[in-house]
Amino acid sequence: MIDTDALAVEIKRVSTRMRSHGGGIELTSVDQTGRVVVRFTGMCCGCPYKALCWHGTVEPMLSATEGVTALDAPGIRISEEAAARLRAAMSPADLLSDETAGGGR
């Protein structure tokens, strides 16, 4: 069972992070199986980089909410290949590596 209050807090947290992009997200629906659908708002709703934002920020943050089993939003579908690349590029280990950080040693 989803804690809807916790979900609302998390959605607000995500939207706060996205504010600098001129948009955010809002809840569209949540069902009993834990499937949550949100939509992008403001400048974000037509942004061609929505998928990047989704996989890098929105999905990881919302999926941590208790009871969330699946997440979706219009306009964020990308191929498995692209999703894998994003996951790899955004993994904490990669972000902290010398090479990614510009250490160049």
């Binding site: 709703c45 037509g46 990308i78 191929s79 290949e81």
Partner: protein, 332 residues
């Protein structure tokens, strides 16, 4: 049905390209030739013996769509293009006759134009077509040789949308891109649907043909407006001819617009029987290089189910399970 997929064709047109219906404009035969040529281009795909330069009958259309093809429901759409056709390219009465003849399978979409006898007449016609003829949607063509109009014109276009809405019709449709004849191309751009989508949030606007050649612009707009749907009318007819082009377009649409706003439209009878395009679409996949190189998602059977029928059924308030029972449909 295709297997258990309910097929609801967003757009069929019973056109009248008979010589009797041509206006006296000097370019009318040329324009008719352009449209007949489009039909002829597709003829090798289906091998039909349709005479395009004529008036399509209700019987012939039923045969093309429901006998020769696995279509379950369709919308007969008026094409109020009057520049070269006295009684429009696809007349009101003929579309209505199709719906009256097959009320269980065919919905009637009316059509008016403020540049044809003026706005007052268009508003009267909207009322007549909805209240007397049972139109459940209205179709608009704003590009014309003389007196083209913008879809965001608050004095011309908005009163028509408002009249539709007041009468309970909240799905309105627009031909965009693909010039019909010799009119200027710029009125076929999709830009002027943004303001109506903003100003009439309770209405659904359906843009046809991806506004070819303005595909990128259309996608950028549809991605931002939840009440702008895209009818892939004619676009999917290119699947057997130019699959790569369709794969690229569909990949972009699935990725950026979302599958829930995409509608199948056959363009029968100019496109012939829909069966050939339906088969090609069912066989279509997004190839590995587009998935890997552009990040486009694979198209799934659920996507095809939504595009072919579920999305339009939802928009038009058709309960698919009830309709299946009513029509006695069983999975093939």
């Amino acid at each position: 049905m295709i297997d258990d997929i309910f097929v609801f064709d967003n757009v069929i047109h019973l056109h009248d390209m008979s010589a009797e219906n041509l206006t006296e404009r000097s370019d009318a035969p040329h324009v008719r030739g352009m449209q007949v040529g489009m039909g002829e281009m597709l003829r090798p795909l289906h091998g039909g013996d349709i005479d395009y330069a004529t008036r399509i009958s209700v019987e012939d259309m039923y045969d093309l769509v429901f006998v020769q093809s696995p279509t379950d429901m369709a919308m007969a759409q008026t094409v109020p293009v009057f520049d070269w056709y006295e009684d429009f390219w696809a007349p009101v009465a003929l579309q209505h006759a199709m719906a009256v003849a097959h009320p269980d399978r065919v919905m009637f979409c009316g059509g008016v134009d403020p540049s044809f006898k003026g706005l007052a007449f268009a508003l009267e016609e909207i009322e007549r077509q909805i209240t007397e003829l049972g139109a459940v949607s209205m179709k608009f063509y704003n590009s014309h040789v003389v007196e083209p109009w913008r879809c965001d014109d608050a004095t011309i276009a908005y009163p028509m949308y408002q009249r539709c809405s007041d009468l309970g019709v909240n799905v309105v449709q627009f031909h965009k891109g693909i010039p019909f004849g010799t009119e200027n191309l710029e009125y076929g751009q999709p830009y002027d649907l943004q303001a109506p989508c903003r100003d009439f949030p309770e209405m659904t606007f359906i843009l046809h043909h991806l506004a070819v050649p303005f595909v990128q612009e259309t996608i950028a707009i549809a991605a931002r407006f939840p009440n702008l749907y895209l009818a892939l009318s004619a676009n999917l007819c290119f699947t057997p001819i130019a699959p790569r082009m369709v794969q690229e377009q569909l990949g972009m649409l699935l990725s950026r617009v979302g599958v829930d706003k995409l509608l199948w439209g056959s363009e029968a009878g100019l496109a012939g029987p829909p069966r050939v395009y339906l088969k090609a679409f069912m066989d279509l996949e997004i190839p590995e290089d587009l998935r890997s190189g552009y990040g486009y998602p694979q198209i799934t059977i659920d996507d095809k189910r939504k595009i072919l029928g579920e999305n339009f059924a939802r928009l038009m308030g058709v309960d698919i399970e009830s309709k299946r029972r009513e029509l006695g449909l069983v999975p093939t």
